[in-house]
Symmetry: C3
Subunit: 132 residues, 3 copies
């Protein structure tokens, strides 16, 4: 089973919790034991498993990546002025693969699935969800 | 086939080699060609493929992450005082997916599978191993 | 279906686009809906999804990793003098898992698959490609 999640992003850098949408697709699949691959279709976006008790960790992720990967100093900036966005996406990675255990995702209590936007805002971001 | 590996960790930051446990589950599955997904159930833990000739690379990983992600300076520290642990986990990632080739994991000679603890010690860490 | 891609690398640090080879294996498999796992067999190598409009992002990746992970300051250097290569590989990760949608990889327009060499040049690098 495979579905595409569509989302729009409102800021240049931001994390968007898509756990609920992925969980719904897992439930529809009726798969009891397996894996779900969550893949961000975009070379300036990524998927991260992270806590969502409040917004603090999400903001810390953005602060950390800005600190490690400053904007405006990359060779690619001569083309698109978004070299930092590509580098952030490359470091975090385009996908996560999560086990399905007894029909539900095997996330721990504090693990949520985030779409990471590094070159927003964008109207049409897509995430491919594939269940095996 | 799916199994949970349980482990306890003894330090705040540490890498634990779980290659043997994963290899045993792969052997039990009798799968000849496929993949094995190794997933750390915890938002302050991660999975890394890394060399295990001796302890040096493991210590270097911890040194590097402490250098890139200092403790005590994050917004999330106001809640749990473990903002750095969440960030380390997010950068390394919760899972790795490894090919099964002729009934064994397709690791190279120097590749081992490590559970990365970033907020220990913990008595009850779990890793979900799923074979497809 | 599973195949091994073989490649040689020409520099100490470099990104090599293997999208075409992976796409060919996906086409041969005739799988319409599924996933493809791309796995670098080497503890000083990695797989990254990244743009390939020109060489700029590839060079920026190497520049960034040299900046974050300098060479020559790691405990492991006493053995092999390649501590930085192991750390770069651990941060980027040994594999990526990509959806197959309607018989083709679900990459976005600017996403390509790169083998990342961090301890080259090497004559015999291998990447395992597994389709489910």
């Amino acid at each position: 089973m495979q579905k595409i999640i569509e989302l729009s992003t409102q800021s240049e850098n931001g994390l968007y919790d898509i756990t609920g949408e992925v969980a719904k697709i897992v439930a529809e699949s009726k798969v009891q034991t397996g894996i779900v691959n969550v893949y961000a279709q975009g070379a300036t976006a990524a998927i991260m498993i992270q806590e969502n008790w409040d917004d603090s960790v999400q903001r810390d992720v953005i602060t950390l990546l800005r600190r490690l990967i400053p904007s405006g100093i990359w060779e690619h900036d001569a083309q698109d002025n978004n070299g930092d966005a590509h580098l952030k996406a490359g470091i975090i990675g385009a996908s996560e693969t999560i086990p399905i255990i007894n029909g539900r995702m095997g996330l721990s209590r504090w693990q949520n699935i985030f779409f990471c936007e590094f070159d927003g805002p964008r109207d049409n971001r897509t995430v491919a969800v594939t269940i095996i």
